[in-house]
């Protein structure tokens, strides 16, 4: 089970990022739990300045945009 956090102050792009990750994980049959993290303090602790950002199992793997499909596939595998 991968623990995925989408960091962002709740803008449109962040919800889209969370949705698309869940969708692709579902297609690939990978068990994930996706949560959205909006607290400014937590985002700061990950050292992220451009949102949306993606954290998988406490590792920052992406920031600054909605990730592309192939990026997400790479992150999940």
């Amino acid at each position: 089970m991968k623990n995925i956090k989408v960091l962002g102050s709740g803008c449109n792009k962040c919800s889209k990022t969370a949705e698309i990750i869940e969708e692709i994980a579902h297609e690939l049959n990978i068990a994930v739990s996706v949560t959205k993290e909006t607290s400014a303090e937590v985002i700061m602790d990950y050292g992220v300045m451009s949102t949306p950002a993606v954290v998988i199992d406490e590792q920052l793997v992406h920031s600054g945009s909605i990730p592309h499909r192939d990026q997400i596939v790479a992150m999940l595998s």
């Binding site: 102050s9 303090e41 700061m44 992220v48 300045m49 451009s50 949102t51 920052l60």
Partner: protein, 334 residues
């Protein structure tokens, strides 16, 4: 080079729609078509070209650069980077905290954040296309000056006293280990981008920005066209044309509840100026619309206490009023 758009608008309004240039409708529609087609073409082409050039610039690099700079240079560079670095306004909190936790003084961070909405490549392009280069230079210089002096002022009054406690602690920690570089930068490879990567970035950027701003352009130009066609000629000039002193604070106040980005407001500026509103009053109104917005300020509450928010807000209002007065006083001399 812009003649093309004038011809296109004339052809569409007067030949295809059969309106007469002498009527209000014809005049307003002509103005609307010319401006929208010109702005859309400029936006797509120029955003793409500029994005090609700045593909390797991002807020992480700006932070690392500013963290190493001396304070004096910091205000200038903070404000300059604010003008050229793109970032979505929903990122202003993470950017604020990222700068702060790198030990960058609050004033320099604010110079960045104040300048950012006021000046960006789209705004500069529109100003050049609609109001000419002299006005553009003036606007950029004034926008940066407001950011720099605002930042300097915030440091002089020790604004960091009024940050939320976690942000204040992050600033302290950051200043202590400023030399230990603890940057979580994902994009180390970006300085050596290949052309296809740059092209990909620029394409996405052009589509993204265009998708975000096209409706602002329509609204802005629509209001501009309405002013142009339906406010009686000379009305603005005879009532506000002398730059009466009270008209500037009134314009700033009027701009607060209105919220737009620079793209939407510039076509309105064009129309106001052409209708005889003095440059200072126009500039005060537009800067207030773009930079002093309540939604943005509510967001900043997460990292600042009320007192600092109130100071910042007043600071912006006072600066825009001063900008307006100074310009109204000096334009006749230019």
């Amino acid at each position: 080079m812009f003649q093309l758009f004038t011809d296109f608008a004339n052809w569409l309004t007067f030949s295809v729609f059969g309106l007469s240039p002498a009527t209000k409708q014809g005049d307003a529609l002509n103005f609307f078509i010319e401006d929208v087609s010109k702005i859309f073409a400029l936006l797509v082409v120029m955003i793409y070209l500029i994005a090609l050039l700045r593909a390797s610039l991002n807020v992480e690099k700006v932070r690392d650069y500013l963290a190493k700079k001396h304070r004096g240079v910091g205000y200038l560079m903070g404000s300059a980077f604010g003008a050229i670095t793109p970032f979505c306004s929903c990122s202003s909190i993470p950017v604020f905290l990222g700068f702060t936790s790198a030990g960058i003084p609050v004033g320099i961070t604010m110079a960045f954040l104040i300048t950012s909405p006021l000046i960006n490549e789209v705004a500069v392009l529109l100003l050049m296309g609609l109001l000419g280069w002299k006005f553009t230079v003036l606007y950029v210089v004034v926008g940066m000056a407001v950011g720099m002096l605002g930042g300097l002022f915030l440091d002089l009054i020790k604004a960091e006293r009024w940050l939320q406690s976690f942000a204040a602690e992050a600033l302290k920690r950051g200043q202590q280990n400023k030399l230990a570089n603890r940057s979580a930068n994902l994009r180390q490879t970006e300085s050596s981008l290949t052309f296809p990567q740059r092209h990909q970035f620029a394409k996405e950027e052009a589509l993204e920005i265009f998708g975000r701003v096209w409706k602002w352009v329509i609204i802005g130009v629509g209001i501009g066209a309405a002013l142009h066609g339906f406010v009686p000629d000379g009305w603005i000039e005879s009532h506000l044309g002398d730059g009466q002193w009270w008209s500037v604070p009134a314009a700033v106040m009027l701009g607060i509840p209105l919220y737009s980005n620079a793209t939407g407001v510039i076509p309105i500026m064009e129309s106001l100026i052409k209708n005889g509103l003095p440059v200072g009053t126009t500039m005060a109104f537009c800067m207030s619309t773009v930079a002093a917005s309540f939604p943005e300020f509510i967001l900043l509450k997460q990292v600042m206490q009320w007192r600092l928010l109130a100071i910042l807000f007043s600071l912006l209002l006072v600066s825009f009023t001063l900008v307006g007065w100074v310009f109204n006083a000096f334009t006749p001399l230019l």
